[in-house]
Symmetry: C2
Subunit: 279 residues, 2 copies
């Protein structure tokens, strides 16, 4: 007879001494940060909890202000649609966040100021590379010039993409992103109303289209060349309508989950999440 020892190491119970982290989005049901970071806290023996916050854009500044005034709250994650607003409200931001025009993590510094960082781009490129889809030298089409799209654009060019075409129905924010990219990587990024799908090696959806069951697809996969990689940043559902359609036509696909999987170590370093002394 074998004894199966159950894992009883579950979450640290929440008490008055528990430190706080929050993740803000609208909607927020799909965020995976709570199910990734809370088990990490438990593994490290850190008395902390990350909770999801559903906040609409008109209330974002007020909610963020309230969170930063909680003395036992140490960190904030920000997701769609608040990443650009978070950049404007941070006391200081990293160069990566500056270029991306978006912040997805805020940390309380020892002097009480809140500094913003962006890991979307680095996390996405790390995931893409580890899946064997190296962006270096490739022609890439990116749908969406919002927070995630901007961060991914900067990271793809930093990783050596030959050319990047960004598409977004908001002409003003598209123009602004291309201008920021042009400063750092002149001549390698353009903005287009219609995606040049026929020449793409990799196409990335960085719009929110695909989160809701009745969303239209961000583009038609029928115009893609054979072997073109189709990547999505949407994490829930894992198999978006776009990825299903691409897979049905034989395209290699890349799931949104990879972006966050590869951000976990980056978050851990940023939030200085070390096991307490003696563990």
């Amino acid at each position: 007879m074998e004894l199966v020892v159950p894992d009883l190491s579950g979450p640290v119970p929440i008490s008055g001494s528990t430190r706080l982290y929050a993740v803000l989005g609208a909607p927020v049901e799909q965020v995976r940060a709570p199910s990734l970071l809370n088990p990490l806290f438990a593994r490290l023996g850190i008395d902390a909890v990350l909770f999801p916050v559903h906040v609409e854009p008109d209330a974002f500044a007020g909610v963020l202000h309230g969170l930063t005034r909680m003395k036992n709250l140490d960190g904030i994650l920000v997701t769609i649609p608040h990443k650009a607003a978070a950049l404007r409200l941070a006391d200081e931001v990293s160069p990566a966040a500056e270029v991306a025009g978006a912040v997805n993590a805020l940390r309380r510094e020892p002097d009480g100021r809140w500094s913003g960082e962006n890991f979307d781009g680095a996390g996405f490129v790390r995931g893409l590379t580890e899946a064997g889809h190296l962006p270096g030298g490739r022609r890439i089409v990116l749908m969406g010039a919002g927070g995630a799209g901007s961060a991914i654009a900067a990271a793809l060019l930093a990783a050596g993409a030959a050319h990047l075409t960004v598409c977004d129905p908001d002409a003003a924010r598209l123009r602004e992103l291309v201008a920021r990219l042009e400063e750092h990587w002149p001549g390698r990024a353009t903005g287009e109303a219609d995606p040049p799908l026929g020449e793409a090696d990799i196409v990335v959806n960085a719009t929110p289209l695909g989160m809701r069951p009745d969303d239209p697809q961000p583009f038609s996969v029928r115009g893609l060349p054979p072997r073109c990689v189709v990547a999505d940043v949407i994490m829930k559902p894992r198999e978006t309508a776009l990825l299903k359609a691409a897979a049905a036509l034989g395209h290699p696909i890349h799931h949104g989950a990879h972006m966050l999987d590869h951000q976990l170590d980056l978050y851990r370093t940023f939030f200085r999440l070390d096991a307490p002394p003696g563990q």
Copy 2:
């Protein structure tokens, strides 16, 4: 060989769909609400988490505003020193909260308004009664005219106390409390600078004195008549210096924990915490 089956029913893991409750105080390390309500959520199979928020008085209004704008947050508990401020900021309050001048629970109503209730008084009197210290017909001295003190004053008079003397170094708030009590129970409550300990049947500490190791005691137990009951509302430490000193002189003592123990059912009803259908 006996098989011991471990209880694996632990907390529901936190995900993006988890509903939120918060408890606000300064300090907040001592609050027991997280360790009482989170296990209750787990027992009922409710996907919700209560987290502690440390907020100083100058930031209370901003933090409360931010919390009420979180669309997935359903309830707020308030403890020292924010109960009077919570009354002012609630959209509507119950009669019990109105008389107490303090709110310790806020609930989001279906129309989006936030209504405030106060369970300190009812919880305290229920605990005192179940411990055999019936307040009816007794002469009672109450130290502290703040949020907890005001709520307890109203509940003690409602429960038939013969006379209540309230003491507080803040003369203005003491006068205001006695005026509110006088409206409902004329001639049965007075405010005094010095507690008339020699004639008391029950003395209640409703000040924060005793939470910190170097706090002075709220009054000297040496002046109490024999058999006078000494009650504290402080929950942590359980054995305050006051209760230790009273016990050493042979007085019956009543711990602060009873107040919250007897509030749990009241909170459950107020927040409409029922097991999901089918459980």
